[in-house]
């Protein structure tokens, strides 16, 4: 039997095939969750003018004398109106939040600290709490970011704040990473569609739906196919998918069984194998390869067991996909094992855990009891895999390990 490679080796071999799917332009509204592929600069200063930050009156700092000093009100400066000027440095203008600070003024005193009085048919503003300094309650032009400053870099994931900033600088269309064309092919004679009643020896398909749902995180609408364990049919279908797709995810058919045709078929079809079998549980029979022809295609052939499929997707496929999309690899997150665990086989063990952030700000990983890799229902009560390295058999409560999160 050939020696298996480690999870670190598998990770490196996969990382060696990272490729760029190109870019496309999408509207601002459609850019949510996509990966920016250009830098975005400030087209104006942030803020673009001395912006009034409180409703009140604008005065000149060196005109203010003391508490109860009164200023003649010349008028109002509304938000969205062209900038006015103080007629006399001794007077004031009422100003509204979001308006331009009037020319000649450099302090805003909020309404709460002003009393308005009528004298001789004129309106006066008497200050009850004097300003403490120049530019009080004024958000000065350019203090957050200068015109031309880089606000977002290529590779950032576009969330709500990014959309707000892109809107502010007038980017109605954004250049983002093109999404790859992905096919999911499930195999196995034991599988029936979701809406069908399985015979006692059959089960319903679930892997393809699970992976398709996971891919939607990146906006990818995968095409789903199922084929039975018929070598000729599988060969024809995979041949077509390799030509049309950027990524083919196959579940099942990669182990040592009589109908595990996938590795042989991929070899026949000219897919270069990078590895088969990884020293891990679950997911040992994982196969990975690439084909250069027809624009290139990466093939992840995952073990058919649902938890194995999901682990391999989360641990290997998702990070690869992220980097192909232009997202910088994240440094590993660690969590603290909450209960001691023993695991004897000389394999990396992906323990299903429930991550809980405790009141002291620590990320605790509680093992979810289960029957090993087959226990699909346990994925419902866990939200991460904790990676326990093969060098040890006993893992003590309180130790920190790398963790791979999933779930909302």
């Amino acid at each position: 039997m050939k020696p298996m490679i480690s999870v670190q080796q598998a990770e490196q071999l996969i990382a060696g095939t990272i490729r760029d799917f190109g870019t496309e332009k999408v509207s601002l509204a459609d850019s949510l969750g996509r990966v920016l592929r250009t830098s975005i600069e400030a087209d104006r200063d942030f803020p673009p003018f001395h912006r009034v930050a409180m409703d009140g009156i604008a005065i000149r700092w060196d005109a203010q004398r003391s508490r109860d000093h009164s200023f003649l009100v010349e008028g109002s400066q509304l938000a969205g109106a062209p900038q006015k000027s103080l007629g006399s440095p001794k007077n004031c203008l009422e100003v509204m939040t979001g308006s331009v600070c009037p020319e000649g003024a450099d302090v805003v005193i909020r309404y709460e600290d002003v009393v308005f009085e009528e004298k001789d048919g004129q309106r006066w503003a008497r200050i009850t709490v004097p300003a403490k300094g120049m530019w009080q309650n004024i958000h000065q032009q350019g203090t957050d970011r200068a015109q031309g400053a880089t606000l977002m870099e290529s590779g950032c994931i576009i969330g709500a704040p990014e959309i707000a900033v892109a809107a502010t600088v007038g980017q109605s269309y954004l250049s983002v990473s093109r999404l790859p064309k992905v096919a999911i092919l499930s195999t196995g004679d034991e599988l029936v569609p979701v809406d069908q009643q399985p015979a006692p020896y059959q089960i319903r398909m679930s892997n393809s739906h699970m992976i398709a749902a996971s891919l939607k995180k990146w906006g990818i609408d995968a095409a789903i196919f199922h084929l039975t364990d018929d070598k000729e049919g599988l060969t024809q279908k995979i041949h077509d998918l390799l030509k049309d797709m950027d990524v083919v995810l196959i579940t099942g058919g990669v182990s040592k069984g009589k109908t595990d045709f996938i590795p042989g078929i991929l070899d026949e079809l000219g897919v270069e194998k990078h590895f088969h079998r990884v020293a891990q549980r679950p997911g040992k029979p994982f196969w990975f390869g690439t084909r250069e022809a027809d624009g290139g295609c990466a093939v992840f052939a995952l073990p058919g067991n649902p938890v194995s499929t999901f682990l391999c997707y989360q641990r290997y496929v998702a990070p690869w996909l992220q980097q192909c999309l232009g997202i910088a690899p994240k440094s590993a997150i660690q969590a603290i094992l909450a209960e001691s665990i023993t695991f004897n086989p000389n394999l990396s063990y992906y323990l299903q855990v429930k991550l809980v952030s405790d009141t002291a700000g620590q990320l605790m990983a509680y093992p979810v009891k289960g029957k090993g890799s087959g226990d699909l229902a346990n994925l419902l009560v866990s939200n991460a895999f904790l990676e326990l390295p093969p060098e040890k058999k006993t893992f003590e409560a309180g130790e920190a390990f790398d963790v791979y999160r999933f779930g909302f």
Copy 2:
């Protein structure tokens, strides 16, 4: 001046208006990210039969004698094929991962531990590593979950694992929370559309796009409107929205300025005010009310400053929405302040922080330097608001505080 309410009071008043928007049926593929509103039970045992977990041979435990014991191979049990029986308890069947364990067998020995030999025209399987116990490499029927067991409860968010389990139990359509009809109305004469060049005293709209993007997390496609500070136009539009919508989110026009018509209009239109002004920074002028007529409508009128809008959405609107959708309120997550901070006003202060999970599994909150509530660009480099309570002025590095995350 009226006393302001605390953030805890605001939270409670909002929580008092939580309502149910009802349910709807959606296809399994469309259910991703939605909230389940029924419990899902196992229609069969998990696994539904004694499932072979490794490719190899199935034997009877009490037939195994020792290392090098040979079994006559009667045939093969493939995945997806009806269950076979061992003809003789002394023989074996080859079995494939995912197949039913043959009747009469209770142990599977994996191919790695078997050598096949031809003798007298018959095929024999010689064991090189004997089984260690009954049911080895067999995932026994019902060991994960029993038929009838509740797998998912009403209120869970449907992610990839939930989709896999729903598929497994044959749920092609799921009952989920109906999404509310939401309108976002931005106000302010200073705002121009994203694709327009602003005059020196104008800025482009960003709040409505930011909130619309945030609502998409729940699958909500909000309708976006903008109106200038014209009382009559605003009144007519808000009147219509109150009738048609479940939730109206307004940005701007809630402060003390001359054109801050929103609180007055909402009062005129019969929206019951629950509070106006909260002792917090940013977001002090936050207004909240509800209207019972026409099926009910909740109105969140948020301050127009982008960071104020975003904080109020994340801190108040999103948790309310989650609970309306049937998601149990989450217990607060805490993070550890990484640098000491001083904040003098007697207000709850929402500090923009960058959360980083350190190698010891601690969630650290690094303050992002900024000019206060106006600094929209700082949202790009932060991913959470840390809630610093009003009772103190100085917050020491190492202290833990509640944190409100946003971002991917």
